[in-house]
Structure formats: structure tokens, C-alpha cells
């Protein structure tokens, strides 16, 4: 016991010092304490009176966690959360420690941790979570993790390590994720979208094969990437029928969407202020996790309605008097959904596409060739490309069918933003699509060099 007190105290001191130095203090204390005590996450998080919720996915884990947190706040729950971008073991350890008192007693009632796909086995067994929410597996940055099968294997290992009491909440519409129910069928809840059709299968689709027998799946409906209604013609494996459903989904373009949430406890209208079907999936996943925790539908509805956007995912602001919408793009499926949402808005668009190739973006930028940029091409009025790989993005647009006269590559992000604003008409909106580190740099640029109608939230990493 005294040993732990010393560790907690040391980590607080280190966190404070690194914060003052202006560097990210987000994971440093966690790393140091983990080096001394491998089980620190478990020791503290097991004391949360309402348990722990773990969220993992390729796409949507930050937004979904933020939605769940918004619902928890409506319920008046005190939540311990890790910061987005700090979702490895050390980031979770830092969050747990930051919330705890000197003698290791948690300040919050419930833990809510988004965990990186590959880090899930290392974190899951320690937390013995009450809810494990697994949403989707898409191709992300292949140079970081290798192949999807490998991640799926890690997730199954993580599920096997969980105690009896953990409820797994799985996306029925993702064949690879739904297939994981076989690890612990008794404790699984499924969620999914109930609709006749969502559109065509995109090039970036991954999990098109039966997780049972390897045969090609047949889809009756495709919603996002490979998420949809499917069955295996060879072995009869079929999409499990979800107990938590989104029905009657209505997409209202950039303004947001609504749907009817159907759950074992009844049904209720949900409104979200985020665009696109992918955010309906995020809201549905958040709702499924919360119903599994026993929260009522009214609280869920209010929590979702009160939620605007997670850091950099979808932000609207005015820069130098022009309307700007910031939409993070980090992998083909997410980018495709942004494209699809943009195409709901009428008219040609002015775009700023910022492609970096730092480690957090993925060093391999070839994924932009898997994005259905061809669908966007006819709607491009002007496109400024920027970031460390500005020219590659410019070339991608050209090969998608955008006339080269409409494309300008400006490597420097600040100058690119300036140019893109110039090209944007007074009544128009500039759509800014950055990869992760480009988004962080752009926020700094906006903060330091541009006049805005409001402060961007969480502008600098704390």
C-alpha cells in the first residue's frame, strides 16, 4: 500500500512537470508507473463503483466514447476517461492515475476508456470491464499493424481473457466483429442498423469473407464499407439479429441525422448533430453500450442530442469571415463516408485536403488510392492540397478526374489554408479534410495566425 502511494504521487508530479514544459503530459506518467507496476490499471480501475467500459474499433472510437461520456454526464455520473490519442496501455494508465487520489482511490464512479485496436489484449484483462464495446475492423494504416486477421486474433484473445461478468457489445453488421461472439456467446449483445439498403460496396471493403468458412459473403444491404446485412451461402453463417437497432434512419446532410432507437426496454427517437451514416453507427454503438449498463432511453436520447463533436472529427467555425468545416480523414472507409456526406450537400465545393505521412497518420500514404475520390471529382470547384505529401494528394485528385487547373499543391499548411480561404466565396463553405497530424498542425495555425468566431476546443494537447 505505501508503495502504491509513492508511485501515484510520483506520477502526479511528473505529469504536472511535463505539462508545464509545454509537452504532452498525456502518457508520460503512465509509462513510468507501468514500468514500475504492470498491474496498476487493474488495481485502481477495479474500484470504480459502476465498473469500466472499454471501446475499441478502427473507426469511431473517439466519437463514440465522447457520446457515451455525454450520456454519462446527463445521468450525473463522474467519469474517468483517457484522452484521445492516448489510447495505448500507458494512456489508460495515465487516465486511471490522474483520477485517483494519492492512496490509489478513484475519484470517479465509472471508467470509460477508448483503446487502440492492437493494445486491447494488454488493457482488457487488467480492467475486467463491465462492458466491452467492439465496433468495427477496417483497414487502417497497414504499416502500423499488419493485417486485419492479426488484429482480429488479438481481439479474440482479449475476449477470452475477460471474466464471466463482462458483457460484450458487438456490431452485428461487421462480419468479422460479429463472428467474435463465438468466444463468449452467453454474454454478448448485438446492435445493428435495420434498413433495406445503404448503397454500393466500396473499394475499401475488407471483411467480405465468412469468418467461419472463408467463402465470399452475400450482402442484401451495404451500409458503410463492409458493414451491412450479409449471409454466407456456403456454411449458412448469417448476420445475428441485433437486439439494439437503429430503424428509420434519416440523413439530413451536414446538419445531422435522426433515427429510431429500438432496444429491449422500448423505443425512442434519437437526434444527432453529426453528419453521415457512420455517425449513426457511432450513436447506435454508444446507445447499445448504455442500454447494456441499464441506462434509460430518455437519458441516452438527451446525451446524444447534447453532443456536438469529438476533437477535430466534425467542427464548424468561421475563419476570416468564411464558413469552414473541419472533417478528419484517417483511413479509406472514414474518408469514403466523408465523401458520401459531402455529396449530399448540393453544388460544387472548395476543398483543402491535407495529407501527412507521420507515424500517427501512417507512413504509407497509398491508402488514398483506395478512397472513392472519383465520386467526389465532379463536385470539386477548387482543391488545395497540402501536408508532407501534398503532391501525392494532388496527383490522386487528377487521376480521379479533377481537372488539373482546379488543383493547387501548397505544402505549407498555413499558406494552404490562406489560399483555400481566398478561393472560397463569401456564401460558400470551405471543407477542410486533414489527416491526424495535419489536423493538429492546422489547429495550431488557426489559433496563431487566423481570426475565428470562437476558440477551438482542446486546441493544444493537454
Amino acid at each position: 500500500m505505501p508503495v502504491m502511494a509513492v508511485k501515484v504521487a510520483a506520477s502526479r508530479l511528473i505529469g504536472a512537470a511535463s505539462g508545464r514544459a509545454g509537452h504532452s503530459g498525456t502518457t508520460l506518467p503512465g509509462r513510468l508507473v507501468l514500468a514500475a507496476d504492470k498491474r496498476i490499471i487493474g488495481r485502481i480501475s477495479r474500484k470504480y463503483s459502476r465498473g469500466t467500459v472499454i471501446v475499441s474499433a478502427t473507426n469511431g472510437k473517439t466519437t463514440t466514447s465522447a457520446m457515451i461520456a455525454s450520456i454519462f454526464r446527463k445521468k450525473g455520473l463522474r467519469v474517468a476517461r483517457n484522452r484521445e490519442g492516448a489510447n495505448l496501455e500507458a494512456g489508460v494508465a495515465s487516465a486511471v492515475l490522474g483520477d485517483a487520489s494519492m492512496n490509489g482511490r478513484p475519484g470517479s464512479e465509472i471508467g470509460l476508456f477508448e483503446v487502440d485496436e492492437a493494445a486491447l489484449p494488454g488493457v482488457a484483462w487488467q480492467c475486467s470491464p463491465r462492458i466491452m464495446l467492439l465496433m468495427n475492423l477496417f483497414r487502417d494504416q497497414l504499416d502500423r499493424y499488419g493485417e486485419l486477421e492479426h488484429i482480429a486474433g488479438l481481439w479474440r484473445a482479449a475476449l477470452r481473457s475477460l471474466p464471466e461478468k463482462t458483457q460484450t457489445v458487438l456490431n452485428a453488421d461487421d462480419p468479422m466483429v460479429a463472428g467474435m461472439a463465438s468466444v463468449r456467446p452467453e454474454q454478448t449483445v448485438f446492435y445493428g442498423i435495420e434498413a433495406a439498403d445503404g448503397g454500393e460496396m466500396q473499394h475499401a471493403s475488407d471483411s467480405k469473407y465468412c469468418s467461419n468458412c472463408g467463402a465470399a459473403l452475400r450482402y442484401e444491404a451495404v451500409f458503410v464499407g463492409h458493414l451491412g446485412k450479409y449471409h454466407c451461402p456456403a456454411c449458412g453463417n448469417t448476420r445475428p439479429s441485433p437486439t439494439v437497432q437503429a430503424r428509420d434512419v434519416r440523413l439530413g446532410g451536414m446538419a445531422g441525422s435522426s433515427f429510431t432507437l429500438v432496444a429491449p426496454g422500448g423505443h425512442m427517437e434519437m437526434e444527432i448533430r453529426l453528419p453521415g451514416l457512420y455517425n449513426v453507427y457511432n450513436a447506435l454503438a454508444a446507445a447499445a453500450a448504455c442500454t447494456a449498463l441499464g441506462l434509460d432511453l430518455r437519458t441516452i436520447s438527451e446525451g446524444l442530442a447534447g453532443f456536438s463533436a469529438a476533437f477535430g472529427r466534425v467542427e464548424k467555425l468561421s475563419i476570416e469571415g468564411k464558413a469552414v468545416m473541419l472533417l478528419l480523414v484517417k483511413n479509406p472507409v472514414g474518408f469514403n463516408e466523408v465523401v458520401r456526406t459531402l455529396m449530399i450537400e448540393p453544388g460544387r465545393k472548395t476543398l483543402l485536403l491535407a495529407l501527412n505521412d507521420h507515424i500517427a497518420d501512417g507512413r504509407d500514404i497509398s491508402w488514398i488510392w483506395d478512397v472513392d475520390m472519383e465520386a467526389l471529382a465532379p463536385a470539386v470547384a477548387a482543391a488545395v492540397t497540402s501536408g508532407t505529401r501534398a503532391w501525392e494528394m494532388a496527383m490522386r485528385l487528377k487521376y480521379a478526374g479533377v481537372e488539373p487547373e482546379r488543383i493547387e499543391a501548397v505544402t505549407d499548411l498555413g499558406r494552404a489554408l490562406e489560399r483555400a480561404l481566398e478561393l472560397t466565396g463569401t456564401e460558400e463553405t470551405l471543407f477542410v479534410l486533414p489527416t491526424y497530424t495535419a489536423m493538429l498542425s492546422l489547429r495550431q495555425e488557426i489559433h496563431q495566425h487566423f481570426s475565428t468566431d470562437r476558440e477551438l476546443g482542446d486546441l493544444v494537447w493537454k
Binding site: D143, P332, R363, S366, W369, W391, E392, R396, Y399, I407
Partner: protein, 244 residues
């Protein structure tokens, strides 16, 4: 006369990792911009192309499960593909596709997958993956040319005695991280580990392959109309400057 080019894309549904469909996009566009009528036909498991009808064959890489499915099916197609290559057709194979066209692939657990044997080379799984930006210098087009790409492979490929690599590694790992060679050339068939995708930004190499494919159909002496490659060249130059 209308100029035509027919491309056979092998296993587009299975071998489609690392955005290598960008290579097909580049081939299509660069033909269309020149008024060349291009057709790309996909052939998956159990489907056999009429080999003589095609001037360009394309085979990319996939995830392990998909490559295992392709491996046995490719044995059926091996003879047809070899005959097409021996008649002068162009073949571009990337990463997993390159490995499957060699003699064998030996996995980490010692299990061996038989290849097609079109390339006299064999691949042995390494302990760690070769990942990163890669720049090679090739003389396959007749003049020294730098190609930029991105590699991501666990296999180490060794060429048999006397076989010719596509190029020499300037930065990155290449075939096996040891002998400095990258890829292989056999007649107009090329194997390489360069993703990126390879063809959009390495236009001199792309046009070289297109010319060979058109000559397969129309005989020697084909000249391609020049294109404005300002963007492509800037992208290549940017990529050439990246460390491994």
C-alpha cells in the same frame, strides 16, 4: 485506326491490399488521355482468361487468407500465364503477387507454398517485416531511372543465379535486405515489392510498360504521345527525397 489495349487484372477481389488498384487507375487514365481504347477485365478463382487476347497482366498482393486461396488456383493458370509472357505480353506483379509467381514461399512455420515458377526466385519468411519508403534505380527502360515506392513485406526473396533484378536499392530493403537487389525482370514480366502505388508517380516506367504492351499487340515501333506530367513528377521527386 483505333488503338486498343486489353488488360487482365488477376484476382482483383482477393489481391487488393495496399491500394495497388491505383496502378490500374494510372494505366486506364494514361491510355484514355491518349485516346487509346483500354479494357480491364477481372479474373478471379476458377476463371481463366483467353490468354492471347491480353497484352498486360496484373497481379497484386493480398492478406494471408486471400493469398492462400489464390495460390492453388494460380497453379491452374500458370501454364497460360507463362505462354503469354513468352509471347511478349507484359506482366506486372507486386509484393504477394511477385512471391506467388516464384518457385516457392516458405512460411515462418516451415510450411511451403508452391509457386508458379515463372520467376526463378524463391521467398522465405523473415522474422520481422521490411516496411518503409523505398527508392531503387533501374535500367530496365534503357536509361537509369529512379523509382519511388513503399514496401511492406515479411518475405525475403532470393533470385536464382543469373537472374536479373528490376533495380538496385538506394534506400529501403528490397528483395531480401542483404544483396541490394529489388524485384525481378524476366522478358516483359516484372516482379517488385514497390507499393505506393507504383505506376501513378513513376510515369516513365509506366509508359515503358504501356509501350511494351502495345508493341505486343501492334509490333515494334510504338510511340506514345507525351503527357503533361508536372504533378506526377513533383510527386515522384517528393517521394525520392523520403528516407527509408
Amino acid at each position: 485506326m483505333e488503338v486498343k489495349l486489353r488488360i487482365a487484372h488477376l484476382y482483383p477481389d482477393l489481391l487488393n491490399i495496399y491500394a495497388d488498384r491505383g496502378n490500374i487507375i494510372a494505366l486506364r487514365r494514361r491510355c484514355a488521355w491518349r485516346g487509346i481504347d483500354v479494357a480491364v477485365d477481372g479474373f478471379t478463382l476458377g476463371e481463366e482468361p483467353a490468354w492471347r487476347d491480353y497484352d498486360f497482366f496484373y497481379l497484386s498482393g493480398g492478406q494471408d487468407r486471400e493469398q492462400n486461396l489464390v495460390c492453388s488456383d494460380l497453379q491452374q493458370k500458370g501454364a497460360g500465364l507463362k505462354a503469354a509472357v513468352d509471347s511478349g505480353a507484359v506482366l506486372l506483379s507486386i509484393c504477394g503477387g511477385y512471391q506467388l509467381l516464384g518457385e516457392y514461399y516458405r512460411a515462418a512455420d516451415g510450411g511451403t507454398m508452391e509457386g508458379v515458377g515463372l520467376f526463378q526466385a524463391s521467398t522465405i519468411a523473415g522474422r520481422d517485416r521490411c516496411i518503409g519508403n523505398v527508392v531503387i534505380e533501374t535500367e530496365v527502360t534503357g536509361t537509369p531511372l529512379k523509382l519511388a515506392g513503399f514496401e511492406n513485406h515479411a518475405g525475403r526473396t532470393w533470385l536464382d543465379e543469373g537472374q536479373r533484378p528490376l533495380g538496385r536499392v538506394l534506400t529501403g530493403h528490397g528483395n531480401n535486405d542483404q544483396d541490394g537487389g529489388e524485384g525481378i525482370v524476366y522478358r516483359n514480366a516484372i516482379g517488385t515489392y514497390l507499393h505506393g502505388p507504383l505506376l501513378p508517380k513513376n510515369t516513365a516506367f509506366t509508359d515503358y510498360l504501356l509501350r511494351l504492351a502495345l508493341e505486343h499487340r501492334y509490333g515494334e515501333g510504338v510511340e506514345l504521345a507525351p503527357l503533361d506530367d508536372t504533378l506526377e513528377e513533383a510527386a515522384r521527386q517528393a517521394a525520392l527525397g523520403l528516407g527509408g
